[in-house]
Amino acid sequence: MTRGAGTSAVTGMTRLDATRRIAAWLGDDPAVPIVASLGHPAYDLFAAGDRDANFYTWGSMGLASSIGLGLALAQPKRRVVVLDGDGSLLMNLGSLATIGWTRPVNLVLVVWDNALYGTTGGQDTATAHGADLAAAARAMGLTAVETVTTIEELGRTLDRIDGEPGPWVVVAKVGENVPAVKPPLDCVFIKQRFMAAIGNAEAATEGAPI
């Protein structure tokens, strides 16, 4: 374990604080889908307030941004928010290239950058040693990219997102916190509840004429 070897200094907000700020931002619209990367980002989303339109992943590390991209392409008039982690995005950096190519204006990708693998014991990620995920996003053709380090900066960026088309990438420098709760464990329940909340209930959950 090499925690502390890099520059993963704790900044002005924890991931949970920042997640609560995102939840407050979306608070008046229960149908905005939020996709959370597995582990601590999903746990904190649940802690910030469970809602039907939260899609908690329990696996598929790295794919939260891809799931969000698919949602954004399927529902171009609906804002889609993804809460990713730095370690997770590093596992699927190609996703930035695909988002940069397809450019869904309704996608908001928030990356919790705590410079460590928080769910697995706090090992450094590459962002503790110079990797810059905002620069990576820009290099893939994305232009609505911000790095924020405080709740106030995050709030100002969320205000901008309300007025400017995406795709947005917000790299939020956060401190790690230890979650105390976990989201529902049943994957099919999560999916069916989520799809119904965004107006797309599966036929199998609704009954059908014979």
Binding site: S66, L69, G70, L73, A74, Q75, N200
Partner: protein, 178 residues
């Protein structure tokens, strides 16, 4: 190239996925699949195609498309199944998220590249092991029906399902082994 030159199997793949209700194809290209893409471009303007950088990413995008109300198709070469396993086993299968999976086979009869053989030989066993049902399109004239049935089964039962496209189907006999 005129539309007359589309191979029958490739036209069948497109008719099949379209008939299963799929209007989104996420793919990592390979040589035979280029024929499928040409048919889609020529005959199916209502089908959107998106290239992924990696097969695992393609399955993530497909999962999001399904959650958003679409019926996604993922196209890949058999070599890419290895890149897809975590997405399939920890997202699509446990969440019961369907996708029509079209696998352009390498490593089967007619292969010339030894590096394609181990995964090619393992595809069916891997699909069985992770409980992804699979069928093989055997003939050009039955490909549309097979693809459509795999797709309808996948979307109807909310499980990913694979249709294998063997080299004896996708590569002209004069080129097999080259």
């Amino acid at each position: 190239m005129s539309s007359d030159s589309f191979p029958q199997w490739a036209a069948g793949v497109c008719a099949g996925l379209h008939g299963a209700g799929s209007r989104h194809v996420i793919y990592v290209p390979d040589n035979p699949l280029s024929h499928v893409l040409r048919v889609l471009r020529d005959r199916y303007p209502d089908v959107a195609t998106t290239i992924a950088t990696r097969e695992e990413e393609a399955f993530g995008i497909a999962a999001g498309l399904y959650l958003g109300g679409a019926r996604p198709t993922v196209m890949l070469q058999s070599s890419g199944l290895g890149n897809s396993l975590n997405a399939l086993t920890s997202l699509l299968v446990p969440y019961q998220i369907p996708a029509l999976i079209l696998i352009s086979m390498r490593g089967d009869a007619g292969e010339w590249n030894a590096a394609q053989v181990p995964m090619g030989r393992a595809v069916a066993s891997i699909c069985d092991a992770i409980e992804v049902p699979h069928a093989t399109a055997e003939l050009p004239e039955t490909t549309a029906e097979t693809v459509a049935l795999v797709g309808k089964t996948a979307f109807g039962t909310r499980r990913p399902g694979a249709c294998l496209l063997p080299r004896r189907l996708t590569v002209p006999a004069t080129k097999v082994g080259q």
